[in-house]
Symmetry: C2
Subunit: 348 residues, 2 copies
């Protein structure tokens, strides 16, 4: 590689969208059965009767996880779940996964077993088959790459790009807890490092810790929507924070939206932790990420079907593009939503 750094552009200048644009600008599609390439939660391959949806994620030590506080079994579980979440976000059913890991010399056989215990547990829980992978050395840390393959009828697939004006915006579960769990773990890590003999105080924080360390994908919601005969008009999973995901749907669907602060579901454990850390829980919900809930739109005529479902919360509606993507605060102010979730590149 060239060392003439003066003329080179720093990756952090690009941002997420810029980097994706850079990567995709020369991509051409050759095959008719490639229904969807880069640009949604998963790629879609038409196999005739059914479609395959394919998605992949690469988790890297020190970036996506910190082994000081991440049990290896949980890490294996989470590495699978984050990919399954992308498959569910296409309104598809995950069926197979492959797992590649690169491990450095500091790991022993027992550590690999722990990781695969978590992987196998996730496979069992979500009814998917581990069908392949690759294992190699690494000079430094641990990296796990998972590819998930799901199945769906072509007409059932939910894209990011198909939200319509007046559709209702819904989120599942609650938001911000995974981020507050991370803040707690980081706080205790610092205390542990700076104080001799100090032990982490994690009792009583089970909910937010589990949301961070062992998240679940919303298989139950996808099944519920089928039961309720509701087909989302668009869908995405919330891995980078609500704001970022709403903007993905708005950009891809060429629409705007209006959401209401009071409707955003935040668990009381998240509120409590935020208070303790003197943080704003709303910010965690909007920008925190790693919640792996689903964000979707439904036709307004389907609102009655979902309005009494405790797992699903209507938080606003799709509007004309000209209105932008805004949140109405409890004080009645209109705030423009901004994507702040994706800052891994900038943190370096």
């Amino acid at each position: 590689m060239s060392e003439n750094k003066n003329k080179l552009r720093n990756i952090s200048e690009l941002g997420e969208f810029g980097l994706i644009d850079l990567i995709t600008k020369n991509v051409t599609i050759h095959h008719k059965n490639t229904v969807m390439g880069i640009g949604d939660d998963a790629a879609i391959i038409d196999n005739g009767k059914l479609c395959s949806v394919v998605t992949t994620d690469l988790l890297v030590e020190g970036i996506h996880f910190n082994l000081i506080y991440t049990p290896l079994k949980h890490l294996g579980y989470k590495a699978v779940v984050v990919n399954l979440s992308d498959v569910y976000a296409m309104n598809a059913t995950p069926k197979q996964i492959t797992v590649s890991i690169a491990i450095s010399g500091k790991f022993a056989v027992e550590h690999i077993e722990e990781i695969y215990e978590g992987i196998n547990l996730a496979c069992k829980h979500y009814n998917v088959d581990l069908v392949g992978g690759d294992t190699s050395s690494s000079m430094t840390g641990l990296a796990i790459s998972v590819t998930a393959i799901g199945e769906a009828k072509k007409e059932d697939i939910a894209y990011r790009s198909t939200a319509n004006k007046n559709d209702i915006l819904c989120v599942t579960g609650d938001l911000g807890a995974a981020y507050m769990g991370l803040q707690l773990l980081e706080r205790e890590k610092e205390i542990f490092k700076s104080t001799d003999g100090a032990q982490p105080k994690l009792d009583g924080y089970d909910y937010i810790l589990e949301r961070q360390l062992k998240p679940e994908a919303r298989k139950d919601v996808i099944e519920l929507l089928k039961e309720l005969k509701v087909k989302p008009t668009s869908m995405i999973d919330i891995s980078d924070g609500l704001s970022s995901e709403i903007l993905h749907i708005c950009k891809k669907s060429d629409v705007g939206c209006k959401i209401f602060q009071e409707k955003i579901p935040i668990d009381q454990n998240t509120e409590q932790m935020a208070k303790e850390l003197n943080m704003e829980p709303l910010i965690a919900a909007l920008n925190g990420g790693e919640d792996y809930e689903l964000l979707f739109t439904i036709d307004i005529n389907d609102l009655d079907k979902i309005k009494d479902q405790p797992m699903i919360h209507a938080i606003g509606h799709i509007a004309d593009k000209e209105h932008g993507a805004v949140m109405i605060t409890n004080a009645g102010q209109s705030i423009t939503l901004e994507a702040q979730g994706w800052n891994q590149m900038k943190e370096e």
Copy 2:
């Protein structure tokens, strides 16, 4: 992770087969359409009319490639090719790939562009679609994870486990060149590092360098076999050296084999480099790896169809398991083949 290393087993003790056994021991298959899970060049998913074959590889800086002498464009190309090679080894046609990369702060936008130039070139050359992926930071080096998806009729798929007694063992192209290319690059790297102002001398070594830095997958051979109406009775790609791959076929098919030293194809450039470095070219062919040629068996009745094909070399035949896997040397000795290709874990 636990730090009680005394009770932990070192990964290097396991070896490749031991590690695969460890990972697969608790894997259960839930879906009928998972035709083949772990255990061949690729997994197989039955989609009704056609099957998908899926394979994945993770390339890690410092383990699989050294950026001192690997151009990033070549690296991108090779990362794709090694996966396509696995798809061809199933007698299938690759159609889609996903690519995930983790990059550290030392890389600039231009470097990513170079990697994707290579990736896109491979996509064009092999007629596959880049359909997805993931890009993230890394604390240290570069990692590239590629998943390739191919297509085949179920009855056309060639497994590792289906070689029969008296079948003819064939290899394509020539062997050992990629390994000799690596030796040359390593030699020049050492000279460069230890001698002020010394420039690498790589002129005249084009063939072995290209075999190492920009290998090709044998799309042409798969197409030729179809033309010749030859269906391999078993097949594998040669990524870890001829010995290792022959043993995979013998173990999976529960057979032995006899190959002949004089039949093993070695290019004169490989011979020349080996001579210069005072190495044995046969060892490079048997154990060197990274040639990405195909090793396959055919029914003895198909021998006439392939015997005048310059790309294909019959090197021996399948025998009863009791005879073991042996090579008859030019001096008439019988030597037992051993798998020495996979020593990444041991090198640490």
